[in-house]
């Protein structure tokens, strides 16, 4: 390890020493975020926002390909509107930021800063939807939302965050169920293939479902410290909000009916997952598909050949820049070694070095961030090699994370065993559950683990881990301690 490397590395607390501090060090040193002078809020800095932009691109494309349109609904929701739906308001009221003054004027009614927009969409849909011909309505919005959190951590839990929220209305229950499941698939596809994060998918328990939903589907990921993170949710809202907001349509049979609805969202929280699934003691590791820079070029410039190398690397940059997201780092004030370490910390998938000897030999040096593999590549093979590498790194990162998930999935047949696994290894723990909320709560009280997901094709028939009763309908679910 070079001196430079040591300097960089010592700025980041090792994962094994203090995982939480490692996380905070990484996001700060790599300039993903900074703390804002407002409690619980973050500034997403350009490097962090560039990741979000790539994520948005990949997800927005999928959302549109499945027939949805984007729109923008107001930030403020009148208190009376939010209160129309009792479960919903009960779920969100403790977290709402309230506007009570506009200019010098006290408002006659307080306005909630949206914690989520079911109420606002519901109110508008009741106006827009009249006939079966108006259905389905498939709208998504990219927006900021606010939830007044007591304890916060950048990306994972902040008072304001960015997300997309889809809100749809359908003619039949089947259509709504199909939509909710389709969007869960879209999320799984996006998170696995673009972010290289494997997820478990399935149903949330009644206790863990969204306030006001009939059913909540979710994708769950496993962080490298063995804790789970909810990566996205898709809700079948049934006719719950339709009844509250009076969203009805005249059906083909001339009967007036309530619509069936869904809502679904993922947020900047996923960036937290990206950091924790792929990162290591040297910093970030970003999968090529969402990396702001897929490769960084570092010219090696001994004084005498400086001009020549800079000229050559600029020429190469021009060749590459329309094919890849490439960054040319020709800062004078830092040594190549310093740059190697900085870009490694920032998780750029590929480093390209070019120096006088390489120019002589008509080659460049490539180094992978994920495996540290170093390659000498002829210039005329470079573009093919880069394309191949980018694909390979993306696949390998997903495979590595899949292996980790598999290795850290355990089975427990008693509460004691569950507790032991959690103390020793954490991870996702499969165990049977009888379906009673009391048992779910007992597990949580005893072990701090919650039911992360009930798989769609769960094994059935074992004895409940909490009460011990055997029932043929008992399902094998995933427990974990979660973010």
């Amino acid at each position: 390890m070079s001196k430079n490397n040591e300097e960089f590395v010592k700025e980041i607390t090792p994962q094994s020493e203090d995982y939480s501090q490692w996380y905070l060090d990484v996001i700060k040193k790599t300039k993903l975020v900074d703390y804002a002078p407002v409690k619980g809020c973050m500034v997403i800095r350009p490097y962090g926002y560039a990741i979000w932009e790539k994520m948005k691109e990949g997800l927005d494309r999928r959302i549109k390909e499945t027939g949805h349109e984007n729109a923008y609904f107001p930030l403020f929701i009148p208190e009376s509107l939010l209160q129309k739906e009792a479960d919903h308001v009960e779920g969100f009221a403790p977290e709402v930021a309230w506007i009570t003054k506009g200019g010098d004027e006290e408002l006659s009614e307080s306005l909630a800063v949206r914690p989520t927009s079911e109420a606002m969409f519901g109110e508008m849909y009741s106006d827009w939807i009249q006939s079966w011909r108006d259905l389905p309505v498939l709208i998504n919005q990219w927006a900021n939302v606010v939830r007044w959190e007591k304890s916060t951590k950048p990306f994972l839990r902040t008072s304001e965050f960015l997300w997309q929220e889809g809100h749809t209305a359908h003619r039949t229950e089947e259509d709504a169920e199909e939509e909710a499941l389709q969007m869960l698939d879209v999320y799984k596809d996006f998170v696995e293939n673009d972010m290289a994060i494997p997820v478990l998918n399935g149903l949330k328990s009644e206790k863990e479902k969204f306030a006001g939903a009939l059913r909540t589907f979710c994708i769950e990921a496993l962080m490298s410290d063995g804790r789970a993170l909810q990566a996205g949710t898709s809700h079948n809202l049934g006719q719950h909000f339709a009844k509250v907001f009076d969203i009805t349509f005249l059906d083909q049979d001339d009967e007036r009916k309530y619509v069936w609805q869904t809502s679904w969202g993922v947020s900047t929280r996923l960036i937290g997952a990206l950091i924790m699934v792929h990162g290591d003691n040297r910093g970030l590791k970003i999968p090529p598909k969402v990396a702001p820079h897929q490769l960084v070029m570092v010219p090696i410039t001994p004084k005498k050949q400086r001009e020549q190398v800079l000229e050559e690397s600029d020429k190469l940059y021009q060749e590459l820049k329309d094919k890849f997201r490439v960054k040319l780092d020709n800062r004078e004030e830092h040594t190549p070694g310093w740059k190697f370490n900085e870009w490694e910390m920032k998780g750029v998938p590929i480093r390209l070095e070019i120096g006088p000897k390489d120019i002589e030999k008509d080659q460049v040096v490539l180094v992978r961030r994920d495996t540290d593999e170093k390659m000498f590549v002829k210039r005329d093979e470079l573009i093919d090699k880069l394309e191949e590498l980018i694909e390979d790194i993306q696949n390998k990162m997903l495979q590595t994370a899949k292996n980790f998930l598999e290795e850290n999935t355990h089975t427990a047949s008693s509460l004691d065993e569950l507790g032991q696994i959690l103390e020793q290894k954490r991870g996702m723990i499969k165990a049977y559950w009888c379906g009673n909320q009391a048992c779910e709560e007992k597990v949580k009280d005893d072990t701090k683990a919650t039911i992360r997901v009930i798989p769609f094709e769960a094994e059935t028939g074992g004895s409940c881990i909490a009460c011990g009763y055997h029932n043929d309908d008992n399902k094998e679910v995933f427990f974990a301690r979660a973010y």
Copy 2:
């Protein structure tokens, strides 16, 4: 005019009868926006948001090409932070929405919902900027902002709107001036070439400049009712905010200095300009570059040949959809005539009709929204023709708007004349001004016209329109009544 057409048209108040009502009819009937159940807020519906997305694409590309990066700063600004800069807070305080409660808790300090983010960027920049090597800092954000407005109109003035705000910091005054002017050029290029809206550019008067700026540059457009609209502003902030927020750097000469800053923004207000510059009594007219659909396909389907036509039009749609933004309208419940009128109202630049006779003749019918020109085009020439048309429509719409601006630019040499022109024709009115704020205010009091812009290369030397004094430095400026 067909019966259908009459029905559609009678839903829109003619411009000559009531321009303001025409505007409100158009935005509502074309489903660009709807009124939200929150005072002064709007819902931007999918069709309106799709225009904004195309606008964002074109502008974001230009912002990045000029070296800027996107980021995201918090929605909330603590009262104490906002109050650091006196002029700034005085300018915005009457319009600020205040958060005073989080959950059940009264906040110890009220939080402003950002009306603009100079204060927040300033606070962070003072931390991030230490050395001349850190400069320039070139950051932009796409965000929602809130200004508590008493009287509102969708897109033109709403309590919440969407915009981008760039905030930059530089080493020297020249660098900041260059940046502010560069971004004004970027705006002019974008608004003229993508939105087909010609603009005048130049300086704002002291009275009209941004609260806290050294100088405000602007682009001004002329609506079809003869009123002006400020389409974008770029501010040279000098060292004003740098001193307030203590943003300093160690320069190459080892001296600690304050940075020089700029900020610049355009908003969803531009959609209002788009509507009013191009729209007519039949509805919207959207330039191809920002149109959600560049062309709409309407199959003509007599009962007997229905299947054949739908099959053929779907085949054609598949050929076109990767090259153009094309919408295939094969709804069963509406007649072709109804569809013609609806898409005309929605301002789609080109309509493509395809019926049994066209299929027989291996042709389609194209109709331009801007000129009503109807063309029969052979299928094997279609793609070339569409490409040509799209370019031609874009250019023609800009030219038409340029002609209108020219025809509606007048010269006044006395306050009486200015008043007469405003009463009879409105438009942009060139007149000399001595530079005194008293004269500027007198013009406004007498005629409701304000100085829209002081051109960069203004004519000089005439007599001031208000006080009559002659001075060689008097500049010819543009007056208008404005939105």
